[in-house]
Symmetry: C2
Subunit: 258 residues, 2 copies
């Protein structure tokens, strides 16, 4: 009999969120699972790591009911993956790292701000196959039931066929409001952006403060993007790499007189 | 007479650091300058943005002596750029955004963890030409005198020739210990990584905590990387894009039975 794969799970919404509970239940059907996740929400943390503070890491009984070993960490998602690899699992190598399920989309440029994807990309940097899962529904009690089957299918294939080296998959699911899921598309990251705005308020002492608010604007009309896929009821898979070099711009910059 | 360019400056070491002081002095020779920078150090913040908290933005007199308008912000480097574009400069468009000078290298994969580069990449996302500058010297009183000339030269060319769209430049300078600078190389991001370790300590109450410590390991033997350039006394310029799609992995993943 084949040995069960070892699957490490993290997220950015925190260890008690519904998304990581769903993901852990699905992964427990596929392999041996260890969870190392933030002890509080870390949304929008991007690829932050904790360098100016110490980190706590404590055993958690959050997944005791399904027999899954879990740890909660005071740091960011990227810290969790580092602590998992170099401390919790220092004598064992995970066969796969999964992150999520994020409450909210991580399509397009959101991948840069996403704590969920930073955990997956950190794993890829460490040479581990990795997938980040997100559902386009920000509600804390979002319904994940319609995507469990797809998560299991995608993860099984990833374990069976292997994820290309240095790549982390960014998987986004349309929310239930789109009706039946149309299928799965391998996509590129849409060239969309957030159109930000700052809401100005005054605190009880008369001092001004700001809240970041914004609208997601898709200026990319391609039919091969993750935003198009999600808007049309498909699951999007964007393979992401961490080499950010813009090779195509070398000729222009090489002309500079420097 | 040509209008002076409007240059927005941010960083991640905070508005009082020596690096941003040097950068602001050099930029003031080239254009009209506005500084919006964090009120405290934000190293390792990656592309974090503040979504679960409010932001403060206050006028600062840090650069009053050189006649430069400045604001300090309670948020991350990416927050600073957003606040600058959509609030401080909402009726004016900067001709260039520069970030730094970071105290420490942002070569190779450090670009992912770097607050300095997140400010530059955020600007690129917003459609603004951007450059992040870093010196390979972590000391708070690092000597930036040998690189002023190069910063002015690179920035002048960027203003004159234009940075390709959707690209932010990641410029790293060797520290003075390498002796005379050999020149400037346009490079790719080295495939190096941090080999992490966690130092375990006990607090005065007997509870365990951890410090992230690590060594930078370069496994990339290419002569066209930023790490090679810096190790050999050259200034490295890596053009960075924010499209993280790993197009080359599409064929493999398209074979999956999903």
């Amino acid at each position: 009999m084949k040995k069960k794969p070892l699957i490490l799970i993290s997220n950015d919404d925190g260890i008690t969120s519904k998304g990581i509970r769903t993901l852990t239940e699905v992964m427990a059907e596929l392999g041996e699972v260890v969870v190392v996740a933030p002890d509080s929400p870390q949304s929008g943390m991007g690829h932050a790591i904790t360098v100016n503070n110490m980190l706590r890491l404590d055993k958690s009984d959050v997944f005791e009911d399904i027999g899954v070993e879990a740890y909660e960490c005071s740091g960011t998602p990227a810290d969790c993956v580092k602590l998992a690899k170099h401390h919790v699992l220092k004598d064992r190598k995970p066969d796969l790292v999964v992150s999520g399920i994020n409450h909210g989309s991580n399509s397009s440029v959101s991948v840069l701000y996403s704590g969920t994807m930073s955990a997956a990309i950190e794993a890829a940097l460490e040479g581990l196959p990795a997938i980040g899962f997100s559902l386009c529904d920000y509600a804390h009690n979002a319904d994940f039931s319609h995507i469990r089957h797809y998560i299991k299918k995608i993860t099984s294939e990833a374990i069976e066929k292997g994820i290309p080296a240095n790549v982390a998959l960014n998987v986004n699911f349309p929310s239930i409001v789109h009706g039946d899921i149309q299928g799965i598309k391998i996509c590129r990251q849409a060239k969309a952006r957030w159109q930000e705005n700052f809401e100005e308020r005054k605190d009880p002492y008369g001092r001004v403060y700001y809240w970041l608010v914004g609208d997601f604007i898709n200026e990319d009309t391609g039919l091969d993007t993750d935003v198009w896929a999600l808007d049309n009821g498909y699951i999007s898979i964007v393979p992401c790499k961490y080499d950010m070099t813009a090779y195509e711009s070398f000729p222009a910059i090489s002309q500079w007189d420097i």
